[in-house]
Subunit: 328 residues, 2 copies
């Protein structure tokens, strides 16, 4: 039996989409137990494997992360993280305030010994449909070369455990593919990674090749990773607007677009990284999954499933073993 | 009369596309003189306003930039840059090795007094079609906050002079829109820019809003800027592959796509930043324009036109005046 703690109150469409996702998840997985944290008056679920834990406070998107975690002790997010800390749950999922969830991970769940900075990991879409593990997308905006090295190791373990890739190709995101390219940070990180015996470092990769299936894991700092992620989001949105404005202005085109509609939607879906589940905060002493703030029930369900697999494949134990041997 | 020096030998399809662009440019602009540098045996142009200056060496894409500029004294790129330095030409254009051209700008044309690091600027496409000035896209990969401040000032002058925007909105690319967001670099740069009396600083902008017409100038460091630029390039290519693979697999779709073809091409063109001309190396004591390596004649022609406008609008003189007052 795998037990996952869920924040019922986080995200744009909570608690509705959370409850819908939880109902489907306990129905699909007979070995799954859910601990729901939130306002019990809003929870209609009655299921032997779903327990409801009433909370009185809510962390909003406007809350300052660290302060919210320290002060709102009876919020759904804090209580959910405590369930992981106490060992009552193997992992947790929230679609709430990202910064607050990272703080809850750091201050409540706690870092793994040997991990100096946790990293936020997502799976980005690729041309083949296979996807690529990409980290850090925003946990650590002022990274040092040692942090990038650690991200590489965490990404390697994530790819092996959660995505079932044997000997994943780990690449460093950089401004050129040649060994000597980069800024002072990536040059130093390249040196460190190039000496690694633990993972299969394949060298630098450029931002234009992220979706080209050249690597299984792409490592960067939290500032750059966040930029790339938001750039992907933004391009999709902006191109959508241009298409609407220019392409669909004539009747003939509207007709043609109608024929293509379903396939265009399937492509848009392929480019939507939330389809691959949530982002996972790696390097903590427990599983913390962040579902996208605008998640629908399906995306939140994927995030629960992801947390479940992470618990089952013992990713935390794997990281503890491999990272614990690094110097702090 | 405006005199522009042109590197005949740089770029994937040189000298053919260069010569075609030069012929069209002198035909279209009666006040334009071109100094062509390259192998005279390959030059067929006979025109009263085109002079050919024979060179015997060529800088390739594989050459190490600084070494190439220091050693290949009779290369088309070095000789072209010298023409600007000596005041024979008002500006220069090359589609050759970007790093070498930056070195030629730095070591031959020279920095403006008060500019600590030159910046490479491009105009990125936006939803409205207006475009946004974006810098630095790779001249300075290890920027300090003072360099970002200077980029803002250079970008402001570029937008006013070359794009004719009065009081352009200058934004800082960051991982959040709130004033306090960012890494240590952007936080400090925000403080500096926020105090500026010289340009209209509108605060932080996220990577997802680059194409949304929220600013006229977006400032970042050369590492991040290069990432964003290459990410844009890469997404266009990767999405193209996905469309080909998934969309065009059925006959019905092929038919619909045929109807949309011209409009789809026009959208692809809108997303292609090389349509807006080349990238310009700002902060030098002369105009240096980099045309994309894979430029066709039309793109190279745009780059020549851009250099011409830059000379006419006295952008270097403007920068000298405004930047000269900054502390070195």
């Amino acid at each position: 039996m795998v037990k996952i703690a869920v924040d019922m109150m986080g995200g744009d469409d909570a608690p509705e989409i959370v409850l819908e996702a939880v109902e489907k998840a306990v129905q699909d997985f007979e070995d799954l137990e859910i601990m729901l944290f939130g306002d019990e008056s809003q929870c209609h679920i009655k299921h032997p494997r779903v327990s409801i834990h009433h909370t009185t406070e809510k962390i909003t998107m406007e809350d300052e992360p660290v302060r919210a975690i320290k002060r709102k002790k009876d919020s759904s997010m804090v209580r959910m993280a405590e369930a992981v800390k106490n060992g009552e749950a193997g992992g947790c999922v929230s679609a709430g305030n990202t910064g607050a969830l990272m703080s809850a991970g750091l201050f409540i769940v706690g870092r793994l010994k040997g991990v100096s900075r946790p990293a936020l990991v997502v799976t980005l879409p690729t041309v083949s449909g296979k996807g690529v593990v990409f980290l850090d997308v925003g946990a650590n905006a002022d990274a040092k070369a040692e942090h990038l090295y650690q991200n590489a190791l965490l990404g390697h373990i994530y790819a092996v455990n959660l995505r079932g890739i044997q000997n994943p190709k780990v690449a460093l995101l950089n401004i050129g593919t040649e060994d000597q390219k980069g800024n002072s940070l990536t040059k130093k990180a390249f040196e460190l990674m190039n000496q690694s015996q633990t993972f299969n470092f394949v060298g630098n990769i450029e931002a234009k090749s992220i979706m080209e299936d050249e690597a299984d894991v792409i490592v960067t700092d939290g500032f750059t990773g966040n930029m790339i992620l938001k750039n992907l989001e933004g391009i999709a949105k902006s191109v959508g607007k241009i298409v609407k404005k220019d392409l669909l202005s004539s009747f003939k085109n509207k007709l043609a677009a109608l024929i293509l509609k379903k396939d265009l939607q399937s492509i848009a879906k392929q480019l939507d990284y939330s389809e691959y589940g949530g982002s996972v905060l790696l390097g903590l002493d427990g599983i913390v999954v962040k579902a996208h703030g605008s998640s629908n029930a399906k995306a939140f369900y994927s995030a629960i499933k992801q947390a479940k697999i992470a618990v089952e494949t013992q990713i935390v134990e794997n990281m503890r073993e491999k990272v614990g041997t690094l110097n702090e």
